[in-house]
């Protein structure tokens, strides 16, 4: 998680708001460079693979990665950067979801359950 944020910051080479919790918000606009965008796309792809292995991937991540690639090919570096950043944030949020859910899922067993009382 930290790693990706770091990469993002490096890739953006500019100030970026860092919030306490990872989320998949809209990226701030930044001046984007070809190489840095490639780095973000690459990292997003890796995180997406990680989420797939957990059976927790989101469809939007794949969509955003292909959008970033298309824009890149069309020479729209800024658009590619925004899509890639959103792809990365969504992949991170999906991995966070997997971690969070592995802790809390039992809370959702039916409330009438007598079996829930015993730990």
């Amino acid at each position: 998680m930290r790693m990706a944020w770091l990469l993002l910051i490096l890739a953006c080479a500019g100030p970026m708001e860092i919030s306490g919790s990872a989320d998949a918000r809209t990226p701030e606009a930044h001046v984007a460079h070809n190489e840095s965008v490639q780095t973000v796309i690459q990292t997003a792809r890796q995180k997406f693979q990680q989420a797939l292995k957990l059976d927790y991937a989101w469809r939007v991540t794949a969509d955003l990665i292909s959008e970033a690639e298309k824009r890149m090919a069309a020479g729209d570096t800024q658009g590619a950067h925004d899509a890639a950043t959103r792809a990365l944030l969504s992949a991170e949020a999906s991995i966070l979801q997997a971690e969070h859910e592995s802790r809390v899922w039992r809370e959702r067993l039916p409330k009438t359950a007598t079996s829930n009382v015993k730990k």
């Binding site: 919790s21 998949a24 809209t26 969504s90």
Partner: protein, 107 residues
């Protein structure tokens, strides 16, 4: 964002109306807010009933920030909410959420 900044100058009633209308479109769009899947909203056909009807929003949310919070991540108020975290999970953009707040606040 650029659009917003540029339009600050033309403020006034028409401007607000435009934002409310845009927010309404986002709320009704199945691929955007899709709020009607769960909420009754004035003018909705076949709304869902998983969430409460969105009425008296100005009274229920005197603070617009609280309304924005509910839409951005409903799990902050209720960890087991059934409402999707529109902001936290990037389902809508920050701009789209701002427009939604403008619309919902009129209900």
């Amino acid at each position: 964002m650029v659009l917003l900044a540029a339009s600050v100058h033309e403020s006034g009633f028409a401007q607000t109306e435009g934002r409310v209308q845009k927010g309404r479109e986002i709320a009704f769009d199945r691929n955007k807010g899709n709020c009607l899947a769960c909420h009754w909203v004035k003018g909705a056909e076949l709304p869902g009933e998983v969430g409460p009807p969105l009425v008296a929003m100005g009274v229920r949310f005197p603070e617009r920030a609280a309304l924005r919070d509910q839409i951005w991540d409903a799990s902050r108020r209720n960890p087991e909410t059934l409402m999707p975290p529109y902001g936290r999970h990037g389902i809508l953009t920050e701009l789209e959420i701002d427009l939604l707040v403008d619309f919902v606040h009129t209900l």
